[in-house]
Each structure stands twice: as C-alpha cells, then as structure tokens.
Subunit: 252 residues, 2 copies
C-alpha cells in the first residue's frame, strides 16, 4: 500500500519545480522501470502490483524492495491515464563533465528551444541509437526529466548525458575550427557533402527555427531535400535530426 506521504511526494514530482527541489524524477510503466533497474541510475522507490513483482522477481532484485500497490493506487499517483504495472522514483544522475573542447572526434547534439517533451524524448533515444556522447539543451527546452520526456526515451534516459547550457554562449566559447552544423532550407544538400560525426549538430524548434544568436554560430548549414512533388512545408524536429544523423554516420 502507498502511504499518504508517499502519494504526495510522487504527485509533487509531476512538477518541474519539485523534481528540481528533490533531485528526483518519475519513471512510469513496467518496461521503463525495468530499464531503470538495469541501468546505473539510483532508484529511491519502486511501486508495483503484486503480479508485476511476481513476474519480474529477478529483474527487480537490484532495486529497493518494491512497495506493492493496487492498479487503482498506481493510477492515482501516475501521470499516465493507464499504468497497470509499475512506477519508480529515481535520483537525477549528477551531471557528467563536458570538456570545453568537446569529446574529441565525437558529435554532440545541441537543442535550441525544443519545447515538446515527446520530441525531446525521441531525440534522446536517437542520440542513444547513434552512440552520441550526449545532448546540450538550451534552458528553453522541455525538461529532460519530465514524465513525458522520460517515457518517450524508451529507456534511453538512463544512458544519455544531458548538459543544460546557455546555448549561444556555449557554442561561442568552443575552440575555433569546431564544426557547428544546423538545418537550413537554404543550406547545402545533405546528400551532396561528405560528413563525419565530429563537432556539434544544432536542431531548433520546428515552428521558429534556430534563435538568431545560435544561428550565427553555425559553420555549415545543411538542407534535407524534399521529394519531387512533395507538399509538406517542413519536417518534425526529431525526424530531421534522424535524417541528418544517418547522413553523418554513412561513412562509419
């Protein structure tokens, strides 16, 4: 059973302010909770149904002894309309160091005003797929520890490093010669240029593009060609990032 104090604490973590205050975040749904327990991220508490505990005894073993709850209790404290298995409170990992000259020979993804948590989560998953060292986030991005972001990462939240930074300043302070790529309708056709995954790839908000101070830092603008007869004006930010990353990794 979940105590009144526990329920209040879990519900407080729906809000960014309390996630920051407590240095904790929620991991919702059975699959994500098992990913959490197999990762190096510290787990405070696991709440799950007796059925889930029975079925996942070995996988739950590395974590704290689970608090057994009913589906109704889970639904009451979860942000999900249906969460019939498990929920965990995890400790926010300490920030890993980000060398001023970037991890050598690696590509870092930087996001400028990506405000949608679903898009941010999908981008974190994508960074994990390509083995990028991590993501630099402008302070106008969605919270990487919001429940919707964590859910959209499909477990990658535990593997990808996140560095919140004032983006234009951070880009401006990188060593001269660092390649800083960004998407731009008037940029070079990404199919006509050989790209190596080193430097920074900056992605902006879908509706407003890059903020001017960030756009001014780019050293190369890339353009994803639209198909012949294509009608859409633009692509979703995570979709664009995926296509660009695939082009960066073609030669690997």
């Amino acid at each position: 059973m979940i105590s009144k104090a526990q329920a209040k604490y879990v519900q407080s973590l729906h809000q960014k302010k309390y996630r920051q205050r407590h240095g904790a975040f929620l991991v919702e749904g059975g699959k994500s909770v098992l990913e959490l327990l197999s990762s190096g991220v510290e787990t405070e508490t696991v709440f799950c149904t007796p059925e889930f505990a029975d079925q996942n005894r070995a996988k739950l073993a590395p974590g704290p002894a689970p608090v057994l709850v009913s589906e109704a209790e889970l639904a009451q404290v979860s942000t999900l309309a249906t969460n019939t298995t498990a929920l965990a409170v995890a400790r926010r990992p300490p920030e890993a160091p980000l060398p001023p000259a970037l991890p050598l020979g690696a590509l870092v993804l930087a996001l400028d005003e990506v405000r949608d948590p679903g898009n941010l989560g999908t981008l974190i998953r994508l960074a994990d797929w390509y083995g990028l060292p991590g993501l630099v986030l402008s302070d106008t991005c969605a919270d990487p520890w919001a429940p919707k972001t964590v859910a959209a990462t499909m477990g990658s939240f535990a593997r990808v490093r996140i560095w919140p930074r004032p983006l234009a300043e951070w880009l401006g302070a990188l060593p001269a010669g660092t390649a800083i790529y960004g998407a731009d309708l008037h940029g070079t056709n990404v199919h006509r240029v050989a790209l190596a995954p080193a430097g920074v790839l900056v992605m902006g908000s879908e509706s407003h593009g890059l903020t001017p101070a960030v756009a001014a830092c780019l050293t190369q603008r890339l353009h994803i060609p639209r198909g012949p007869g294509g009608g859409a004006e633009s692509l979703n930010v995570a979709i664009s990032a995926a296509i660009l990353l695939d082009n960066f990794f073609r030669g690997q």
Copy 2:
C-alpha cells in the same frame, strides 16, 4: 454561439464510430483550420473566435461563414486542452483509386499495426514531404481521421491519400516483380545498397515488428545501422521510416 445540437455533433466526432457514421472529422487549431480551407477538402462548419475571424478574413473566405464562439465554448467541444482559436468539421475525402499494379514508378508507404495516432500523423506528414502517392493502412492502424492523427500531420492530412486494406492480402495480390521493402535488424545495410523510390515500403509496429503474414511478402529487408557504441535497442517507427525514405531519395 455554438448551439446545443452543434456541440453534441462536434463532441460525437471525438469517437471513431461517429466519424465513420457521419463521414466527417475534426480539424483543431487555427493553423490546421486554415490549411483545411486552402485544400480541396470539403468543410462543413468552422467555429472560431471573433479575433481569429478578424485576423484571417481572406483565408476564411473560401469556407462556409464561420460560427463565432468564445474560447470557453471552443474548449468545451475540442479534444485539445487549449484551443483558443478555431475548430472545423470537415467531410472525409472520398477514397482515390489505387491501381492494382500501384502508381507506376512511385513508392507507396504501407503501415502494419501502427496504433499510435501521433506516429501515424507524423508518417502522413513524411509521405507528404517525399511526395509519395499515399499510404496503405492495415485495419489495425490508428484512425487516420482521429483528432490526434490530424493534428500530427500538420496540415498534410489534406494532401495525402489513404487506402485502408487487409495488408497481407493486398501485398500478395501485387504483380510479380513489385519491390516490397521492410525494415529488419538482419536486413541489408541501407547505406550499402542503391535504392530507387518504386514499389512498397512496409513499416510495422515498434514493439512487435511486422505481422508474420506481412513479413512473408517482403522482397528486400533493409537495416538501419546503429552508431558505434549506440545503446538504444530500436528506433521509433516514424524515425525509421524517415531514414529509409531519405535513402530511397538520395539518387533523385
């Protein structure tokens, strides 16, 4: 002002059963409503605030005279938590013919059990970007006319053709020699093969992959290489489709 009967009708269209019965669907938010009015899709009714009507007089002119409503009235009938501008009821377009041998020399996207309306909408937008003739949907896909799908298409719902079909049967009846591509972890590296956009690209559900009967129809399996050191097990279905489509259109 919105009448009681109008409110009841609009709210009924939140549900698939009534969208089918009435041959109608909802378009929510100002931007999407304006896309609707500039498309060839028939519009039954536009509900909008007086401010929105004032600001978009010319763009609203091709549609029926708008019913002016308050933000509170909009919120009451909308599926969106915040819709402060406009909502329209549109007529479902009649199905365009799909030749048994496919549109010659074009690539059709076929979706097998893509149940998430957000993913489906993003895939429709992607098909529009690449100028594909349309999408064939298995009957286990999300409803292409659901409000969440329509919103995720970002206006592409009005330009892309949709053909619901029993997928395995439809694929099985295509002329011999039609290329049928699908994503598969054990397929050919998509960077190591020259692809032309002709035939069918089949995408399955993220969690379960292609259903066996559909998988049996593939003539070529393609694999998106993961980055060195990458940790994620898989990619989102719309992300995978985007990367594959970019590879199909490299030579164009």
